[in-house]
Amino acid sequence: MTALVLRNICKSFGKVEVLKHIDLTVEDGEFVVFVGPSGCGKSTLLRVIAGLEDATDGTVEISGKPVNDVPPAKRGIAMVFQSYALYPHLTVHDNMALALKQEKQPKAQIEARVAEASRMLELGDLLERRPAELSGGQRQRVAIGRAIVREPQLFLFDEPLSNLDAALRMNTRIEIAALHRALKASIIYVTHDQTEAMTLADKIVVLRDGVVEQVGSPMDLYNNPANQFVAGFLGAPSMNFLAAEAVGGTSGQTLGIRPEHLRITDTGPLSGSVTHVEWLGGDTNVLVEAGEAGRITVRAFGQYDIEVGAPVALDFDAAQSFHFDADGARIRG
């Protein structure tokens, strides 16, 4: 069974079209990540799915039922917000229990589900505290717990990690991945962070200006991007784009090479001088100013002694490069 089907979803605020004819299917148990730059419509799309915004056109189906006219609470969804959005006047326990109370679930079942969720998220000691007495990471876990207790058919995460610091973000990311494995739940996750998208997703949906640019597994998108935007958006540091002419290609085309696919050599098709070096321990990022090819980032694995200003040549494998036309579309072959 499919968890979610979107058919021709359009959304406009006044004259501004935010979402343009979006079709998408989410299978049962799938972890789907919407990713894109800010303002691309990914959060709006999530809110349309949640029922917090009405679609201007198109249908939303959750578990095979059209839900366009169903209020958010009855759609079988649960949502985790970027700002946590915990109820400030309720304890952690009551925050998690509120939705179940609204559904008029029997008390014993409410207690059982809250206990189970707090066990999974290690919130046992915090149940009687109020949100103001919790740290950022704890609040986020409560927000996730509030979603889990509802046992929804579809989880919606709206940039849940962007308010956490880097170390906590990684831990929580792993927890969310573990949670997905444990619950076998269908999850839609919105983020602007390509690392989160790559590490969590079964399927990534790349959005730009309200249009789906490409849908596929993370490695699909990395190895086989449909266009220059997707190629540039996924992967860190991002892909180098240079005029194909600079390396003897067709005029008007753009050549894309990932930083990790460039090698620093003595002779190569590209040459220039080093302008900056970032030593990250495991790898070294070298920024090279390569004449008409422009600034190029090279990601070299391991540690290298390279001085700023040193002349270098760069080589790459043609099979690991991508060609794009003037409109940014991929030229294959």
């Binding site: 609470a73 649960a78 917000f81 700002s83 959005a85 400030p88 609040r139």
Partner: protein, 279 residues
């Protein structure tokens, strides 16, 4: 403020200005209070002197408590003020929530229309209001006063509260919607507690003019049983003779409840309970 940024001259200046302002603001109240405890002669002989053994007298308070039904006036003022504040806050907050939360045609226009009342004094419409009250049989009732004061307070309340409501996190309201709370529950349980400080501000702004108003009680409810405290105190001010002892005593007693209400609301002004709701 930490030690490094502390400058004794600045601190002294700031405190000096604040203390001076406090003295200026409190002086009239102080004069009213001390003179209310003096004999009539002592009031005129030396208005600024403190009451001593010779000049001390409770004659003013005795007059006030004997003449006229002072407690009834007091009760009327209290009912009118509290009821008006209640309706101003309730309807003001509801209108503000609608304006801030829902997108509908004419939202901005409606907001402007509701704010228009800030610029137009309600007293301009006194004649029309009186005619309306006469034809609806509300003259000489407290209801008439409550209605007028509610109307008078709403524009500012809507204006201030809608600004504050816009700052309440959308995520919180949406979390409530997904958890199945009704719009009323979201409004009363989630949003109102977060705008409490703004509500307190509106309450304080509205309370003082209502409590002190003489105009509308005089015109709409001058009957003995609906007199407010301010109107009731007027019996002591005559065209030829004014009983200053009684006037000052009545005023002193009238200050008390306003002070109590103010203390209640001002604590809310300071309390910030938003922390922890959103990061």
């Amino acid at each position: 403020m930490n030690k490094a940024r502390r400058n004794p001259v600045n601190i002294a200046a700031a405190h000096g200005i604040l203390i001076l302002y406090t003295l200026i603001a409190l002086f009239p109240v102080f004069v009213i209070l001390i003179n209310s405890f003096k004999t009539r002669k002592a009031i005129f002989r030396d208005p600024l002197a403190l009451p001593d053994a010779e000049s001390f007298s409770l004659i003013g308070y005795q007059t006030v408590l004997k003449q006229g039904d002072f407690f009834l006036y007091f009760q009327n003022s209290m009912i009118v003020t509290v009821a008006s504040l209640f309706f101003v806050l309730l309807f003001g907050a509801m209108a503000a929530f609608a304006l801030a939360e829902y997108r509908f045609k004419g939202n901005t226009l409606m907001g402007l229309y509701l704010a228009l009342g800030i610029m137009i004094p309600i007293r301009i419409g006194t004649v029309a209001i009186l005619e309306m009250m006469v034809s609806s049989g509300l003259v000489n009732t407290l209801t008439a006063l409550i209605l007028v004061y509610t109307a008078q307070g709403l524009p500012l309340a809507v204006f201030i509260l809608s600004e504050f409501m816009r700052q309440v996190s959308d995520d919180l309201k949406n979390a409530g919607r997904i958890d199945g709370l009704s719009e009323y529950t979201i409004f009363f349980r989630l949003v109102l507690p977060l705008v409490k400080p703004a509500m307190a501000t509106v309450a304080v702004f509205n309370m003082i003019p209502i409590w002190n108003d003489l105009w509308f009680p005089l015109i709409l409810a001058p009957a003995e049983e609906t007199k407010t405290l301010t109107l009731g105190s007027q019996v002591f001010i005559g065209q030829f003779v004014t009983d200053w002892n009684a006037v000052l005593s009545a005023l002193s007693m009238a200050i008390l409840p306003v002070m109590i209400l103010y203390v209640i609301f001002s604590r809310q002004l300071i309390r910030g309970i938003t922390s922890g709701a959103v990061k």
